[in-house]
Amino acid sequence: MDKSMLGDLGTLPPEDQARMSTMIDQLQIRDSLRMYNTLVERCFTDCVDTFRRKTLDKQEETCVKRCAEKFLKHSMRVGMRFAELNQGAATQDE
């Protein structure tokens, strides 16, 4: 989540800006914790399928690492494209 996504805070009185800013921070924390959970679930589901041992084998570990890295790169790319589209939509509004 990009803070710029969330609109202009400059028009609010200072005490409300502070509160709004806290709210945004909290949403960002929640969002990144959720992202972490979702990433773990997805990479586990895609990479781990046998349960004959209780530790990850080398292959599963490599798969999880690549999956997580790919997901993060993907997520960053989506964020950039999304920001561009938001920008475009905001410009049209004015």
Partner: protein, 85 residues
């Protein structure tokens, strides 16, 4: 909170902040659904490498663009008058 008198009262303020919060939650959720949907549609599940290849990258760009259009299209159908973003 109790100091100024010509500002909105506590309940009204709750409503304003509540609305803003719901709006932000909506945007975050839109972003997350888009991210997960396009990952599922574009990224090779065998994870042979940790880089996104060219095909995946262009698929992601187009996927985001099309998802955006679907969001707008559905927004028009719902006839809400409000922009989906």
């Amino acid at each position: 909170m109790a100091a100024n008198n010509n500002t909105p009262n506590a309940l009204e303020k709750e409503q304003i902040f509540g609305m803003a919060e719901k709006e932000m939650e909506y945007r975050v959720e839109l972003f997350n659904k888009l991210t997960h949907t396009c990952f599922a549609k574009c990224v090779e599940k065998r994870y042979k490498e940790s880089e996104l290849n060219m095909g995946e990258n262009s698929c992601i760009d187009r996927c985001v663009s099309k998802y955006w259009q679907v969001t707008n299209l559905v927004g028009q159908l719902l006839g809400s008058g409000r922009p989906p973003m």
